[in-house]
Symmetry: D2
Subunit: 322 residues, 4 copies
């Protein structure tokens, strides 16, 4: 059982508590950090953890064996480096960083400290995505030639903290909220990205926006791809890999559709899992040395590098080499 | 009952015969034209039509009230103009033309002659696509913001006449075979196209090719879109329209999936129809003045204009304004 | 907000707590009753309710406005009558009773006391079943001629309290666990039952049994029906109503399939709801006089009468008139 | 290539012609027999076969290597025996016979003559049913405990020859039209039947009837089962086998749904096949000694024996031992 500190007790930090506290036999939160300590007090009491208002206090707490960051994006790099310097394993919510240089700095600090590093792109743990990667890796699809994706989640009108609407914290329309998950899925299947060409189309700016993302990919491997996202559309997730022997499509959290030559189609439905609990327990495995975290430091950097390129391409309306 | 001539008795011309001859109460073929008249003789006998080797003979046949062209793409324009000059309604297989100027010349000739004009993008008549257009037109999806499509059909290895592999007759990889249907669907939903940005990625050239198409759209309306196609992948058709009240997805010939706010999903399956028979009977309706052909001359030109832009964008690897 | 007492804190009683406590704005549990008071203490502390070991104490608690029974089946009737005599509304878990005479006694006591009565056949509240009843009531299926059902839930190997395995408490194989829900569904659609013919086939008796139920129905309306259940099979729920204009099939908790003349099929998926929370809030509505409980006293008696007939038919292997 | 005679050129005989003539490389019809020879003449010309009005003429035709019977049910036995005596392999449309004694007489005659025997319950060849039997035989479902089926096909209003409405030729409501296919499926999976208990419920007699069939089974193996059928309901076919490790459900012609422990569900869709062509080619295989016909003589008799019992049970409203 890993005793962890949870830094940031906002919307997503609470999701960590709900998923793991009292439910996981691998990790529990013994220390929480919030800037708004009065507001967080009932939460700390209900979940039985020590509350403070500073990362340093959590690092100084001798019980704390690992740190989970659920803080605004722009704070991630400095916090990861600080936790690494303190010699404690660190799990960071997505997006890990907004710039490749930051991601590299974090990864280097963790490597130097010899600590486990996790990142919270939890859709990696969806049964549909686990199965999709398994099918692709099996070779059953033949030569892989195209990957397509889409993620809409009807979240445009949800009330978030102000920082989530700031262009500095959350550039690229829905890229930090939804697109990052597709990007992580694309890198997990296609490997490093060579070039992106991205467009952000805004039909109505401001709160509850109406906008769309379209991103075209060329991977270093020669594979090409595209994903789209519309924040305001009803929930829909699809990652579809096309080969010359078959195609495999992850739909939502739990379904994979396999199409093969001759017209045979197979739909596989898997029981739902709690993907936040799964990522925290995978992190616990990494902390205890049982298994490396499923997203490698190289993949983490590849994702952030492509992310940075996408934001730049949206701004310039031109292809960007990664 | 319309007495028609069928020009071209190759793979697709035979599909017209199979679909309509002896089955339609609206149209029958009384005259067929083939360059390879000896080879076509048994076909003519089995289906009971007069055989000749020249369009002019068909036009001179006094029984012939309308002409159906199933000839190589590059012949379409001159043949349409010639049929129009002869004052007979004309139905032309897709692609109608490869250049906007040709399409405009054909449309003008038909307008001048006052004759009905049909085009054979038969996927327009799939029950899934009829329903998708109905749902979009109903306004149920709210503000439309994105359209995505894909068509793979495992046809890369089929044996076709040599002209179907020629880059002049069939530019843009699978564009004349599969992409044209998606393009027609996109124009039917999004209206005229303002800009395209297209890529053709060839993994293995030659016969039974391994290649992919990816095309990004900006429509005059502000809507954006993307479609992909992989000739060698198992059959899969999808056209998905995303709005802020709902999304609607045509899957294959007979299914539409509707997703609406709050997580409700509806799958509608329709009985299959013979889309080739349906387009010929819609043409018969137009010839007899019962209803205009569902694809207007303006849409026909819009599709060809975008097609020409896509081929140019593939060659230059740059966006092309239409 | 209704302050309720929860009588019985076993497996299913805990499900009530999980579903409603702190989540419902309509009902909360302020008093719990358990025979094993020491074991229940931590539960009472965690959920903040007063604990006692006797129904009378709960009835004497002046805060208690309504009573929820999650006790062994054979205790239901006496407890309902006692609660009714105390003038408090009562909600009773299924099966409401094992004999028609008992059900009638309970219903009469509630009527005499003028109190609201609820029963916990929670599958009534599944979105699939709500939609199925809506479709049937709309007349869209034409003349209704047959109803079929199946419920398997892979629960044969679960560890329950001993009384759940007793033939007196739980007669008819899976009838009290799974069959009762189908029976409730059948009565809700077909009305009172005229005759049942039931078979219980036991392939392996004892704990984790291998057995099947098959029940044939003739309803008073002339409708006929059948349902089956296999405790050990993977989870599967189906209620299918066949008419001469269409058929409608509820599958699982959230899906309805509609088939209509000519081959059109429609699949409707609804968001999941917490059916235990839903039934408790429907009971709260009945307590407050906002709406009658969706299962009427007459339906409650009709279900128990048919249940008693099914058990008798299983024993005699003969049809039984209800 | 087997040269066959087709006896009976009504609705179903024509389906044989459409399925096989000019399409099969294994069997062609060189001789047709019809009582209404003038009406059948155009058919004979179009399909290029010799026409006569008597089975004896077909048997005397030296080209005829095998005989296919598509005649009224009550003629089957005498015709099969006669063909067998002539030493020619025989394929008989379903129902093979209406009485066990007749089936036994036919089977004995074929055995004595040493000829191949086929029966036309073509749903055996549906990809869904082939896969269902494969899954059951694999043992993947564990201990098999229940089989359920349903077949409605919206055919109640179709115009058939008068003999199809006669209670002598077509007893048991839809049993000869739809129920016989379910019965064949049940015997193919469950083996010989020990007892049936069947009800025919008639809501509206006469042409375009409104009636339902419900049949309960006990197989010699201890397995139990039920199937239902409603002639007037929209098309729906289901055969569902329940075991303690999983359940497998054939839906329609091309789909199988597999449910396994823990909530995993798999849907397999297969390309459609022409089941009439398939059964004729399987018969051709049997004639040429390549493979025995997939429905053994013992199974043929088991099906007819259960059929006879079902009709008797419907008449007596009592269980009937087979």
């Amino acid at each position: 059982m890993i005793n962890a500190a949870l830094i940031g007790l906002g919307w997503w930090g609470k999701n960590h508590l709900t998923a793991a506290q009292g439910k996981s036999a691998r990790l529990r939160f013994v220390h929480g950090v919030s800037k708004e300590i009065d507001a967080a007090l009932p939460l700390a009491e209900a979940h039985g953890f020590t509350l403070s208002d500073d990362l340093e206090r959590a690092l100084a707490d001798p019980r704390v064996q690992a740190v989970v960051l659920a803080t605004p994006h722009s704070l991630h790099t400095d916090q990861i480096v600080r936790v690494a310097q303190a010699g404690k394993p660190v799990f960071c919510e997505k997006p890990f960083a907004l710039k490749r240089a930051d991601a590299e700095r974090s990864v280097a600090a963790c490597a130097k400290a010899g600590i486990a590093l996790g990142v919270g792109t939890n859709k990696r743990f969806w049964p549909s995505m686990v199965e999709l990667r398994r099918v692709v890796a099996s070779g059953a699809l033949g030569r892989i030639m195209l990957i397509e994706g889409h993620y809409s989640n009807e979240n445009s009108g949800m009330h978030f903290s102000a920082w989530r609407d700031s262009p500095d914290e959350s550039p690229g329309g829905g890229m930090t909220g939804t697109g990052i998950h597709l990007l992580d899925a694309f890198v997990s299947i296609g490997g490093p990205v060579a070039e992106v060409n991205a467009r952000l189309t805004t039909h109505r700016p401001g709160a509850d926006p109406r906008d769309t993302i379209g991103v075209n990919f060329e991977f270093a491997s020669g594979l090409t791809g595209y994903f789209g996202a519309v924040r305001a559309s009803p929930i829909y997730w699809r990652v579809h890999v096309f080969g010359d022997e078959g195609s495999a499509e992850a739909l939502g959290e739990t379904q994979v559709v396999l199409r093969s030559r001759g017209g045979k189609t197979e739909v596989r439905d898997f029981p739902k899992v709690d993907s936040i609990l799964a990522e925290l327990e995978a992190f616990a495995d990494a902390v205890e040395g049982r298994a490396p975290y499923p997203i490698s430091p190289k993949e983490i950097v590849d994702v952030v590098a492509a992310f940075e390129g996408i934001i730049k391409s949206m701004a310039t309306r031109k292809p960007v080499a990664i």
